[in-house]
């Protein structure tokens, strides 16, 4: 018989568990990326294949698709654990739910946000984004997708008890996604036009700090309410 692990060790265990689960179902990791690639492929068809026109729309388009592909997966953060009863056990664990929730979000970002960041230069080239904007795109996505995962988890925690929470979760969290979209695409736009991107990245970083501090509180409260219902 052993004593309960400290919060840090427990969080590491949760992250390991979530990553292991994700790698047992690699299709869930691939889905958002395939979605991203498919939507990117639609734009030249809809807007016309003129390279300069695509380049002009690229910053906004890339960021909007990143946001939508995150929205696609945000529902899944707690869904499986709610369905099989693991979530009840998590709520009864002696470790603080704030940190456990953060561990879930961290794992979710590692399997959805991070791959998107890594593959984004390829997608940028597909839309003819000028080379100057590629680094800014990757950096802004690095900060921005983490915010999206944190905010999305709030919606996921609140709607996990509902059978069909998909539409509701969009209504709940899309307004909160908007600041990220505004500063994220503005950051890429700035890089393309030669304006310093520092301020935009700083604002995204500030949003990330705020989200790390506050989102797990809302997630913990949301999970308690969802399990109670």
């Amino acid at each position: 018989m052993s004593t309960p692990p400290g919060a840090a060790a427990f969080c590491l265990r949760l992250v390991r568990r979530q990553l292991l689960l994700a790698f047992r179902r690699p299709i869930d990791i691939a889905n958002p990326l395939v979605f991203f690639a498919m939507v990117i492929a639609l734009f030249p068809l809809g807007l016309g294949p003129a390279p300069d026109q695509l380049a002009a729309f690229a910053p906004g388009v890339l960021w909007i698709i990143a946001l939508l592909s995150n929205l696609l997966t945000s529902d899944t953060v707690f869904r499986g654990d709610y369905d099989d009863g693991s979530l009840e056990q998590l709520l009864l664990a002696p470790q603080p739910l704030y940190l456990s929730g953060l561990a879930y979000i961290c794992a979710h970002w590692l399997v959805t946000g991070l791959p998107l960041v890594l593959i984004s230069p390829l997608f940028a080239v597909m839309l003819n984004l000028p080379a100057a904007g590629i680094l800014a795109l990757a950096l802004s996505l690095l900060l921005g997708t983490a915010v999206l995962s944190l905010v999305g988890a709030i919606g996921a925690a609140l709607t996990v008890g509902l059978r069909r929470g998909g539409m509701l979760i969009s209504l709940l969290i899309l307004p909160l996604y908007m600041p990220v979209l505004i500063f994220g695409s503005a950051c890429v736009q700035a890089a393309v036009t030669g304006v310093p991107t520092g301020p935009y990245l700083a604002i995204l970083g500030a949003m990330l700090s705020l989200a790390i501090a506050l989102a797990p509180l809302a997630v913990a409260a949301g999970l308690r309410i969802s399990i109670d219902a």
Partner: protein, 202 residues
């Protein structure tokens, strides 16, 4: 009757669901050495009561619940991940108990009759075997208080007998067990019966 320092005490619990009063002014105390069976017809509020006692339901009822010390709650759902093996399920459990060595996990799985199944994906196990993975936590967790919602569901007769002797072993060692079940316990130990009936509690 009540030993000093109960592990769990509930005072005047009242719960209504959908305009129907499930129980009113229900008080109970569970201390070391108590083996309590919660009985009553379907829909009378056994699971609701257990969830209130465990702390999963925090709103919508009146009264107070006091817990001292850790508890182990096993609900209707087995909390077993189909994609993980039984070993991984226990090693990476979200319940927050201490990390168990390989030997301890193998021992617990052997106790619940899953020797040889440690490393197969859980989705290949039968429903009863999946429940047994969950029940293996009883051998691993050091919580003195067990709240078990229908622990015998999908378990074969030999397994039920083994579980019942485990409960007795646990309460004799200073633990406490509160379980819901429709079948009488065949144990050589005084079982406290707590019967919920329509609209009231004895």
């Amino acid at each position: 009757m009540t030993p000093p320092a109960p592990l769990l005490a509930a005072r005047s619990l009242t719960l209504s669901r959908g305009g129907r009063e499930l129980f009113r002014d229900l008080s109970l105390a569970i201390g070391p050495g108590d083996l309590v069976q919660l009985e009553g017809p379907n829909g009378v509020g056994k699971t609701s009561l257990l969830r209130i006692l465990a702390g999963l339901s925090r709103y919508g009822y009146e009264g107070a619940v006091e817990r001292s010390g850790a508890l182990l709650y096993l609900g209707h759902k087995s909390a077993v991940k189909a994609q993980l093996t039984p070993r991984e399920n226990l090693a990476l459990h979200v319940g927050g108990e201490g990390s168990h060595g390989d030997a301890a996990i193998e021992g617990a799985l052997a106790e619940v009759g899953l020797y040889g199944y440690e490393d197969v994906p859980s989705h290949t196990l039968s429903a009863g075997q999946q429940r047994r993975v969950n029940l293996a936590r009883l051998y691993l967790c050091s919580s003195p208080l067990w709240l078990l919602d229908e622990p015998f569901t999908a378990i074969d007769r030999a397994g039920v007998g083994q579980l019942q002797s485990l409960f007795v072993q646990h309460v004799e060692g200073g633990g406490a067990v509160l379980l819901t079940s429709h079948q009488p316990l065949a144990v050589d130990y005084p079982v406290r019966a707590l019967t919920l009936s329509q609209g009231s509690a004895a």
